[in-house]
């Protein structure tokens, strides 16, 4: 059992300050009779670099300027200012909004977004401008993942302030939503985190008491991990100093699910605290398919194209990654996590997992 310092209230204050600063800047420009403009780092691909020290993508020095004096910018500029206005209300009142809600809310101000892709993009602009992830100003997507294990948290959401929950209390897993991500960590007895791609395996691990046998907090990513979940894993790793192991399907897509948890995505190059560079991809490896004789499918053309892309990706420079990519290309096969069921439902827990955690890599 360990105790951890709470951190989440401080973060909210910083966000509110940044939003106010943005408003002041624009206000002053208009006051001076100028078309207001803002500058932010460009997120175009030629300004995204992989930083081997941070072990994630970052934005370079190229800036773009959005000006209300430019006919092609003024609509999105206005929407950006409105979005800042809207999320400040959210944050002040400690409410949350989905991306979809935000898309509709604009209509009250006679300012429809073309589609949700546009409003999502404006939110990313705002993230870039104020340097905080949207989860920090209470905007969430719909997808949800789950967590299970011996970790006690303390809520910060209204009505639950100071209440605590131990994350073993519901054996179906505890949903990772706004309440959980904004909670502070209180104590844990776990000494590692195991992130799992698929719900079936997550349930199996709970049933087989992996959390107890291996002293682990289990995180279900439910496919590509939502950003809130990546941030949550990051906090487990940094605040609790727990090593992170990731289990995915044995194919280029599963491999990349692990990589995004580890080194982030180019889409989030403008943000920090979403990556967990020391996390380890523990399987299913291409070499596992060979060694464990797993039932497998042929790689499709799309799979192979994807592998070629990954082989050139700077995040995949490491020896393990290159070896597995080469093995995939050689055996031209892929396998799912559930493929271990051919050896019985508990094989993955009894045989495979211990071998992997002992780090035969």
């Amino acid at each position: 059992m360990r105790k951890i310092k709470p951190s989440m209230k401080e973060r909210r204050k910083r966000v509110l300050q940044a939003l106010k600063g943005l408003g002041e800047k624009i206000y002053t420009q208009i006051e001076k009779g100028k078309f207001p403009w803002i500058e932010m780092p460009s997120r175009s691909t030629d300004n995204i670099y992989y930083d081997p020290e941070l072990r994630q993508y970052i934005l370079g020095d190229k800036k773009i300027r959005r000006s209300a004096g430019n006919i092609r910018h003024i609509a999105s500029f206005t929407k950006l200012v409105w979005t800042a206005f809207f999320v400040r209300e959210l944050t002040r009142e400690r409410k949350t909004s989905t991306l979809r809600d935000l898309y509709y809310s604009a209509q009250a101000y006679e300012m429809s977004f073309k589609d949700q892709a546009e409003s999502d993009n404006i939110i990313t602009d705002l993230e870039t401008v104020i340097g905080h992830a949207r989860e920090d100003f209470n905007v969430f997507p719909e997808e949800r993942s789950a967590v299970f294990g011996d970790l006690t948290i303390e809520y910060n959401v209204p009505g639950y302030e100071g209440k605590r929950l131990n994350l073993t209390s519901h054996p179906d897993g505890v949903m990772i939503g706004p309440a959980l991500t904004s909670a502070d960590f209180v104590r844990t007895s776990a000494d590692k985190v195991i992130a799992i791609e698929k719900g079936g395996l997550f349930t199996r691990f709970i049933e087989e008491q992996v959390y107890r046998k291996f002293n682990a907090i289990l995180v279900l990513t439910a496919g590509q991990a939502p950003r809130a979940t990546r941030a949550f894993i990051h906090r487990l790793n940094t605040e609790l100093e727990l090593p992170v192991y990731i289990f995915t399907d044995g194919d280029p897509w599963g491999m990349h699910i692990a990589m995004v948890i580890i080194s982030g995505s180019a889409n989030a190059a403008h943000l920090r605290d979403l990556t967990t560079p020391d996390a380890v991809w523990s399987g299913v490896w291409a070499t596992d398919i060979v060694n464990y004789k797993l039932p497998s499918d042929k790689l499709t053309d799309v799979d192979i194209k994807r592998l070629h892309e990954l082989a050139r990706d700077p995040r995949y420079k490491g020896e393990l990654w290159q070896r597995e990519i080469k093995t995939f290309m050689k055996i031209k096969k892929k396998a799912e996590q559930e493929a271990f069921s051919r050896y019985g439902l508990t094989y993955i827990v009894d045989e495979y997992l211990p071998a992997k955690l002992e780090g035969e890599a």
Binding site: L19, K20, L22, G23, E24, I26, Y27, I30, E31, G33, F35, P36, A68, G69, I71, I74, A75, F77, T78, V81, W82, A84, F85, R88, Y109, M111
Partner: protein, 505 residues
């Protein structure tokens, strides 16, 4: 084991192989017969600069079984008329006519009219009836049939009448077996399009149901009549060279070159003879056969001959081309181009093209194409035609055009020799020189269309643009005031005014 050898006349040849001349079945026969006679009539009127008046009547005489009937076809024109002594051969002998010269005319194969009469004869055995006058004091009337084995006219009756009203023209009347009702759509389309590119012609058609179709002339202004021309050096082969040498009066090669060939002056002739290694003083009639061959080969590789001029051609002109389409479709926009004369294998040609947009042009998901060659509409085998291939190869988005727009294109090629791919004269071959000209012509009018479409688009865009600043600037002011926790919203009127001034520049 012994073989029988025999010679057949050209009439016999086409009699045996009539399907290659467009008389393959009863429906096509009606279409081809009308077409060949109408084109002869147009040529006959234009050759003397008179706006054509053409009267066509097709009468059903009787059913002859299996959907086919015997028809009587009468075509009357106000053209030059045929001199009495030539009437029997002109209508009763294959490969006889006035169209073998180097000038633009419609019936380049020179057998259409007689072929129609021949087809009528073998299907109905009824004589043809020809009335013609060149406008002098007499009108001549013949009843004729064709001795197919000998390729000779048989004169059954000959009459000569007073021409009190100085009538001039030709009437051809004969019977043929055919199927008008299957041919009808193509026949009517043919007449309609002929009217489009011959807007100075009156065409009247009474069909077997008694319906009257009148295509009235839109103008009396005629294009200059096509002139005969001398052969261009690039188009000469050994056979033609020998004929030219045989018939020349020139005593030396220099004179021969200058007098015989198209656009060959003294200095070009001298340079060429030097290039060919033949003395300018040589008597052309004394050239050895191998020297003639050599001369022809040198002509094909000599770079300095001038391109043919187009005085022998009679294009429509941009205005006439437009007039036809406007009459037909009342489009919102039209542009036309006549390209400069060009040449392939020594034959001069001119490409004209027009593009039209809107009005009554149908939106059929594809561009509507009208093809013409020496003022003949081409109706069959569109997909094999060079113009269609070119239209398909163009990236129309570049010209802001999309397939669902109501766009029509007309292409007219005129030449002393149209490069048809078949005897049926239905589509033009893909000669690189010709297709390049067509491409340039279509691109040119497409750019005009693009300008039109751009102008329309620009006006709409400006209207939309003006309101955007007025809408958004006040919002920016309001939200930023709130964010900055200020009381007073700043005024944006000045900014909006400044935008408007930019717009008016």
């Amino acid at each position: 084991m012994s073989q029988i050898f025999e010679h057949i006349s050209p009439a016999d040849f086409f009699y045996r192989n009539r399907d290659i001349a467009g008389f393959s079945n009863p429906s096509r026969a009606i279409y081809s017969a009308i077409r060949e006679l109408v084109e002869n009539s147009l040529d006959a009127a234009e050759s003397i600069g008179v706006p054509p008046d053409i009267f066509i009547r097709l009468t059903r005489i009787k059913e002859s079984g299996r959907g086919v009937s015997v028809y009587e076809l009468r075509v009357q024109d106000n053209g030059t008329g045929v001199p009495s002594q030539h009437i029997p051969s002109a209508f009763g002998q294959v490969l006889f006519g006035s169209k073998y010269r180097l000038k633009q005319s419609r019936g380049t194969f020179g057998l259409g009219g007689t072929m129609a009469i021949l087809y009528g004869q073998i299907t109905t055995h009824h004589p043809a009836h020809i009335i013609s006058s060149t406008g002098d004091s007499r009108i001549y009337e013949y009843r004729l049939s064709i001795d197919i084995r000998r390729n000779r006219p048989i004169i059954l009756q000959r009459k000569s009448l007073d021409n009190d009203h100085k009538w001039r023209g030709t009437i051809v009347e004969f019977r043929l077996e055919g199927d008008y009702f299957r041919a009808m759509p193509k026949v009517l389309e043919y007449l309609k399009q002929t009217a489009v590119v011959n807007p100075y012609a009156n065409i009247t058609f009474i069909d077997p149901r008694g319906r009257l179709y009148m295509f009235t002339r839109a103008t009396t202004s005629m294009p200059p009549p096509p002139k005969e021309t001398k052969p261009h050096p690039y188009g000469v082969d050994v056979e033609m060279m020998q004929r030219l040498i045989q018939s020349t009066d020139a005593r030396d090669m220099l004179t021969f070159m200058v007098e015989t060939f198209h656009r060959v002056g003294k200095s070009i002739a001298k340079n060429f003879l030097k290039f060919a290694g033949i003395s300018p003083k040589r008597d052309p009639k004394k050239l050895r056969p191998d020297e003639v061959v050599h001369l022809v080969q040198k002509m094909k590789t000599f770079d300095e001959f001038l391109p043919p001029d187009a005085s022998c051609l009679s294009p429509l002109g941009e205005e006439l081309l437009k007039a036809g389409i406007i009459k037909e479709y009342q489009p919102e926009f039209i542009a036309a181009i006549q390209r400069k004369p060009s040449t392939y294998s020594g034959h001069p040609f001119i490409v004209e093209a027009a593009i039209a947009y809107g009005g009554n042009i149908p939106r059929k998901g594809d561009i509507v194409l009208f093809r013409f060659a020496n003022r003949i509409p081409l109706l069959y085998d569109e997909a094999s035609d060079v113009s269609w291939k070119i239209i398909k190869s163009i990236n129309w988005r570049r010209y802001k055009a999309t397939p669902d727009m109501p766009i029509a294109i007309a292409v007219h090629v005129c030449s002393t020799k149209i490069p048809y791919k078949t005897v049926g004269k239905e589509f033009i071959a893909d000669r690189p020189e010709v297709s390049r000209e067509i491409l340039f012509a279509i691109r040119y009018v497409a750019r005009k269309l693009q300008k039109f479409l751009t102008r329309v688009e620009y006006k709409q865009k400006e209207l939309r643009r003006l309101n955007i600043f007025a809408k958004y600037l006040p919002k920016i002011a309001r939200f930023s005031t709130d964010l900055a926790e200020k009381k007073r919203t700043p005024n944006v009127d000045k900014l909006i005014r400044s935008v408007k001034r930019i717009e008016e520049d």
